[in-house]
């Protein structure tokens, strides 16, 4: 049996070009996260690698680490700032990494959205939690330091 399909007329090129491209941002979110990954990566190179080496390598390693250790360390605003920046950058960097991985492996749009959102929520919660602790931590509440 014969069916007839009618050809679609060619859209005028100009209209098509306008529909594509124009109005969208150049760069945009993807560019900025890309740049952020690199800049935060460079900062983390100091912050995170420094942190892990300081914490794990000197004699005693993590054996040294207990409440007192933290209490002494966080008396210095320098280390508080260090740890807080590490916390924020690592979370932002890591969560964005997980977002990319989700884009790569989760194709159904609904799932994509849900999983990405879950990561954002976890990240946000941990950022708040960490910030509250770093800012409000006051060891003297549990007695004198040392």
């Amino acid at each position: 049996m014969a069916t007839t399909t009618s050809p679609r007329p060619a859209a005028p090129p100009d209209a098509r070009e306008a529909a594509l491209g124009r109005g969208r941002p150049i760069g945009g979110f993807e560019l900025w996260t890309w740049v952020f990954m690199r800049i935060s990566g460079l900062l983390l190179l100091v912050l995170a690698v420094g942190h892990t080496l300081i914490m794990h390598l000197p004699a005693g390693g993590v054996d040294r680490i207990n409440f007192g250790f933290v209490a002494v360390r966080w008396q210095s605003p320098f280390w508080r700032t260090w740890d807080w920046m590490l916390l924020m950058l690592a979370l932002l960097h890591g969560i964005n990494g997980l977002r990319t991985i989700t884009l790569d492996y989760v194709r159904p749009p609904g799932w994509r959205f849900a999983i990405t959102m879950a990561f954002y929520v976890i990240g946000f919660t941990l950022m708040v939690l960490g910030t509250v602790i770093v800012v409000t931590f006051d060891p003297t509440r549990w007695g004198p330091i040392g």
């Binding site: 049996m1 014969a2 069916t3 007839t4 399909t5 050809p7 859209a11 090129p13």
Partner: protein
Amino acid sequence: MTTTHTYDALVVGGGGGGLRAAIELSERCRTAVLSKLYPTRSHTGAAQGGVCAALGNVEEDSPEWHAFDTVKGGDYLVDQPAALLMTEEAVEAIYQLERWGLPFNRTPDGRIDQRRFGGHTRNHGEAPVKRACYAADRTGHMILQTLYQQCVKRDVRFFNEFYCLDLLRDDAGVTVGIIAFELATGELHVFRAKAVVFATGGYGRMFRVTSNAHALTGDGPALVWRRGIPLEDMEMFQFHPTGLARLGVLLSEAARGEGGIVLNREGERFMERYAPTIKDLAPRDMVSRAIYQEIKEGRGGGPDGDWVYLDISHLDPTVIEEKLPDITEFARIYLKVEPLEEPVPIQPTAHYAMGGIPTDTDGRVVVGADEDVVPGLYAVGECACVSVHGANRLGTNSLLDLVVFGRRAGDDAASFVHDTDLATPSEHPEQPTLELLDGILGRTTGDNAGEIREELQDNMFDLAFVVRSDESLAKMQQILMSLRERYERVAITDKGARYNTDLMETVELGYLLDCADALVAGALVRTESRGAHFREDHPLRDDANWLKHTLAYRERDGSIRIEYKPVKMGPYVPMERKY
């Protein structure tokens, strides 16, 4: 089930010729392009050397000189008005390609660069001239890509991996459409249209050694031939002297242009004996024959003594890497030969079909000596015969042919479509095609298509190649008859619908047999030597009897009838072709 589509114009073939026509058509009417390959995979992409036009960017030049070279190169079998027209329109055609984005190489002041190519001269043969516009050694690739890009821009409708299997004409002979086979599903489609442009390329695959792609099986010429349209000058098939030994992969003429030389087993630069003035830069047919002669006289190299050598090892390595990168890569990959150090084994390779579907300069298919126009039917590119290449095509003239006559055919077809009503095909137009396919699919036992193809290719290579004779051609005709008998009984293993390439290759083999039939028939009657057609029993050109085109017709009983058509002359009087 068949699906019917209706368009104003259809282009069959997505190579340079087809795409150029489609660009012209799509601006003026509803157009679709059918191609058995994705268009960018057409063999136009394999062309290396260049496309010529008398731009005069580097040296003084004129279209008229270009026309002279074309006519002389074609050994005076060229229709001179067509050649004059092509070389005149060449200039604008090249500028057009540039404006569409083709990345030509540039002169220091930013204009299109040009270089020398065999047979192109200044002032009627005085000295070589730089006329070939080029983009590294990928000119064809760039043309194909640029034309395809323009089609994407225009949103041209493509039917990729659709095989055209039949031409539909009504009782009055008016074109009403085609039948196509969708490779992905095995479905047949009826395409109705007022105009059909064939641009299906060449048919070099009938020879064992060829520079042509596997897909070049002469579908267009064969299927219109089966519908009563003659084929012109089929005996004129160009054999390029420098194909990689045994493979046929082309090493461009540019290799000799840059100073490469051809040697025999004894290391002798034998072209000095055959063409004392221009030696290795002699036209393709002469070099091919010289190589044949050397081999025949036992001075060939290789295990079978059937090849000679192209030597570029004395050239400056930087020149080679810069100007001939692809060529050296081919030698390295396929023959494991290092061209910078040793000569590369080469052999003449079946390259280009000068003959084909007869057309006028508007791409309209014309029948008979009086050139009666077939309404609504067009052909362009290698499958067509305008004839601007005569008995031997000059390098770089084919790409030019595509863009000049592609445009003209598209233009004429678009006008034709506006003044014509859509004709109606017969009741079940797909019936003959169905029978053809069912015939092949229906047999469970029979002959093997692969073997028939190999025998065809081997024998055509041995008997109808660079040098032919009454005896060899007659023998070939016998062989063709028996091959055809076996083809009628051919059976295939793939009976499926989806991507049945087994079925399509078998159909293509049928087309090859048709083209071979026509080629051999033409070669047998033409008792002279002219251009690419060399008869050792008639080694001279015979203008008194043979300054005419052959037209081969397929009769209903399967036999072939040859008619003739005069060559359209012009300002150039035939003279001996000496170099």
